[in-house]
Amino acid sequence: MTPLFLASTEVWLDQLVNGLTTGSIYALIALGYTMVYGVLQLINFAHGEVFMLGSFAGYGTLVALGGNDLSGGMVAVALILAFLAAGGASLGTAVAVERVAYRPLRNAPRLAPLISAIGVSVLLSHLVDDGFLNGGAKFYPQIFPDGDIELGPLQVTYLQLFLMGSSLAMMGVLYWIVQQTKTGRAIRAVAESRDNAALMGVNVNRTIVVTFALGAVLAGFAGVLYGLFFSSIRGSMGFLPGVKAFTAAVLGGIGSIPGAVVGGYFLGLTETVGRELLNEIPGVNLPNQWKDVIAFALLVLVLIFRPTGIFGQKESKRA
C-alpha cells in the first residue's frame, strides 16, 4: 500500500505546532494593526518597531535579573517582570509615536500619516541597529524550562505550550476589554464614527490613545515570546513579523478582532503546513525560503476572491 502522503505523520504534526506558534505571534501583533486601523484607518507602519522595542525591554529585564543564571522560581518572577517591562516600553513608544507623528496629521491628506509612520519605523529600527547595537544582534537568555510532552507522534515543548497558551489568554483579555468594558465601548463607538462618538460624549483623543496602548501592550508581550522562542533579536526584527501580521489582519478582515486572530493562525499554518501540502504535489519540492512567497500569494488570492477578508464587513471595501 502506498502511503497517502509523502511526509510522515510526525512531520505533519510538527509543522502544525510550528504553524500555531508562529501564528500566535502574528495574531498578537495583528491585533494592534487591526484596532488602530479600526479607529483611524491608518496602517501603523511603526507597529513592528513597537513590538521590537518591547522585545528589547524584556531582554534588558531578563539580563538585569541574572540572564542565563536564573533558575527555579526566579525564572517565573523574571518572566513576569519581563512581560511587564515589555508591555510598558511598547505602550510608552506607541503613545509617544501617536502623539508626535500621527496626531498632528489626523486631518492631513490620507498618505501623509502613512509616510510619517514609515519614517518612525525607519527611525526606530535604525536607532537600535546603528545607534546601539552596531549592526549586531542580541540573544535572549535561554531560561525557559526544557522538556516536552509527547502524545504518540505529537511532540510539543513546554515553551511552545506556554507561547500558545499565554497568547490565547492575552487575546481573551483583549476581547473582554473591547466587548465588556466602558473603554471597549468607546473604542467601538469611535471606530463606527468618530464624529458621532464625540457627540455622545466619548473623549475621542483619549480613546485613540487607549487603542494604541492596548495594541502596543500585546505587541510588547509578543516581543518577549518571540525572543524566548526564536532567541535572536535586532533593530530590524519588527519588519517582517510586522508585514506578516498586517497581512494576517487583512486576511481576517481589517478592523475585526476575531479576524486578526484567525488571520494570524491561518497565515502561520499556511507557511508551514501549506508548504508541506504543496510539496505533496509530484515534482514540487519547495525549500523553506519559499514560505514568504506562499504567504503573500495567499494574500493576493484571498483579496481577489474575498477582498474584505474572512471576517470583513462591507466597511473595509471603502478606502
Binding site: Y37, G38, V39, Q41, I43, V100, A101, P104, L105, R106, N107, A108, P109, L111, A112, P113, L114, I115, S116, I118, G119, V120, S121, V122, L123, L124, H126, L127, D130, G131, V190, A191, E192, S193, R194, D195, A197, V243, F246, T247, V250, I254, G255, Q289, W290, D292, V293, A295, F296, A297, L299, V300, L303, I304, P307, E315, S316, K317, R318, A319
Partner: protein, 390 residues
C-alpha cells in the same frame, strides 16, 4: 473659417499650453546646463547625481500611479527589478539561460514594453482593491518578485547575480564613464517627465484625477475606471522598468539584494515629500532623500564641518561651564572631522526623522501640484476625516 496657418498656430498653441509654461525651451536649457557642468564634478559627485536622477525617473513613474491616479503602490521596486533583469539576462556573459548578447538598444524599449505588460498583469487582479489593501498587495507582489529572483537560480543565478554586462554602445562608442551614464539617465528622466506631463494634461490625466478623487463618481460620469487604472499601472511600471534597464549596465551587478522594499519606500517617500503630482517635488524629494545621505559621506562635507571647528569649540566651552555648575557630566562634542563620519553612520536615523518632520510641517509635501494644493485648501476645513464605517 480660420486659415490653415491660424489653425496650425492654434493647434500648436494648444499643445504647448498643455505643458508647464515655457517647458520645452526650459527643458533644453536645463539639459544643456546639466551636461555642461559635468566636467566640474568628479566621479564621486557624478555617482550621486546619477543616483538622484535615477530616483527622479522612478519618482516620475510612481507619481503617475500614486500622485495622479491615487493608487498606493508599495511594490514599485518589482518593475525596477524587471527592467534591470531583462537587460542583465540578455547581456550578461554569466547568464545561465541565454547565450550571447542582444543589442542594448533593442533591450531598452523591450524593457519599457515588458514593464507595461507586467503593470497590466499586476493591475488586473488588484483592480477591485482600494487604498490600504492595494498597498499591502503591491508590497506582497514586490516581495514575491524579489524572492523569486533570489531562488530561480537557473535564470537569475540567485544571489550570485548577473554581471559584466555588455555596455550600451552609441555608434561604436561604449558608454562606460559615470558621467555618460548620467547623461543617459537624465535623458530618460526627461522622456518620462515629458510623457507623463502630456498624459496628465490630457483626457487620460483628467480621468486619473477623477478616479483619485472619487472612483464611484468617476465611474458614474462614464469613465472606464478599469481601463484608466490599468493605464496608470502600465505607465508607472514602464518608467520603473526604464530606470532599471539603465541602472543595470551602470552598476554592472544585478542581484536580488538590490531590489528590496527599501527601494519602494524610498521612491514613495520622495514622491510624497516632494508633493504628490508635481515634478519639481520629485526632484526636490530625490535631492533630499537620495542626495543628502550620499553627500554626508563626501570628504567635502567633512572639510566643511572641520571649518566649523570654532562653533564646536564654543559649544564645548559652554558644556564645560554647564558641567562646572552641576554634576551633569555632559559629553563633549567630537572633533569636527568625525562629524561627517557620524552623520553618514546615522543617515538612516536622519532619514526617518526627516520623513516625520516634513510630513508634520508640510503634510502636502514641499512642492504640491497646484491643483492638489487647492483641493486640500478647500477640503481641510469642511471635510473632517470620517470614522471607520464611512
Amino acid at each position: 473659417m480660420p486659415s490653415p496657418a491660424a489653425r496650425w498656430k492654434d493647434a500648436r498653441a494648444a499643445s504647448w499650453d498643455r505643458l508647464p509654461s515655457a517647458a520645452r525651451p526650459l527643458a533644453w536649457l536645463i539639459l544643456s546646463l546639466v551636461v555642461l557642468f559635468i566636467p566640474f564634478f568628479d566621479d564621486v559627485w557624478m555617482r550621486m547625481f546619477f543616483l538622484v536622477a535615477l530616483y527622479v525617473t522612478l519618482g516620475i513613474g510612481l507619481n503617475v500611479v500614486v500622485g495622479l491616479a491615487g493608487l498606493l503602490d508599495l511594490g514599485f521596486v518589482a518593475f525596477f527589478a524587471l527592467g534591470a533583469y531583462l537587460v542583465a539576462i540578455f547581456d550578461s556573459p554569466v547568464s545561465p539561460a541565454v547565450n550571447g548578447t542582444v543589442n542594448y538598444w533593442v533591450l531598452l524599449p523591450a524593457a519599457v514594453g515588458v514593464g507595461a505588460l507586467f503593470g497590466v498583469l499586476l493591475g488586473l487582479p488588484v483592480l477591485p482593491l482600494r487604498g490600504d489593501y492595494l498597498a499591502i498587495v503591491t508590497l506582497g507582489f514586490g516581495e514575491i518578485v524579489r524572492i523569486l529572483l533570489l531562488n530561480m537560480d537557473n535564470i537569475t543565478r540567485g544571489s550570485s547575480g548577473l554581471y559584466e554586462l555588455e555596455k550600451p554602445a552609441v555608434a561604436g562608442y561604449r558608454v562606460d564613464a559615470v558621467s555618460e551614464f548620467y547623461v543617459m539617465i537624465v535623458i530618460a528622466a526627461f522622456v518620462a517627465w515629458f510623457a507623463t506631463a502630456r498624459l496628465r494634461d490630457s483626457r487620460v490625466g483628467r480621468a486619473w484625477e477623477a478616479i483619485r478623487e472619487d472612483e464611484d463618481v468617476a465611474a458614474a460620469m462614464g469613465i472606464n475606471t478599469v481601463k484608466y487604472k490599468l493605464m496608470a499601472f502600465a505607465t508607472g511600471a514602464s518608467i520603473g522598468a526604464l530606470g532599471g534597464a539603465i541602472n543595470a549596465p551602470f552598476i554592472d551587478f544585478v542581484a536580488p539584494q538590490s531590489f528590496t522594499l527599501q527601494v519602494s519606500i524610498n521612491v514613495l517617500a520622495l514622491v510624497i515629500i516632494g508633493g504628490m503630482g508635481s515634478t519639481q517635488g520629485v526632484i526636490a524629494g530625490a535631492l533630499i532623500l537620495v542626495g543628502v545621505p550620499e553627500v554626508l559621506q563626501f570628504e567635502e562635507t567633512a572639510n566643511l564641518l572641520e571649518k566649523l571647528g570654532w562653533l564646536r569649540d564654543g559649544m564645548n566651552t559652554a558644556i564645560d561651564g554647564l558641567n562646572g555648575l552641576s554634576p551633569m557630566n555632559l559629553a563633549k562634542l567630537p572633533p569636527a572631522d568625525e562629524w561627517g563620519e557620524k552623520l553618514a553612520l546615522y543617515r538612516f536615523i536622519v532619514f526617518g526623522a526627516l520623513l516625520v518632520a516634513i510630513m508634520i510641517v508640510r503634510p502636502t509635501g514641499l512642492f504640491p501640484s497646484r491643483r492638489r494644493e487647492m483641493e486640500f485648501a478647500q477640503t481641510s476645513d469642511a471635510e473632517l476625516p470620517a470614522g471607520g464605517t464611512v
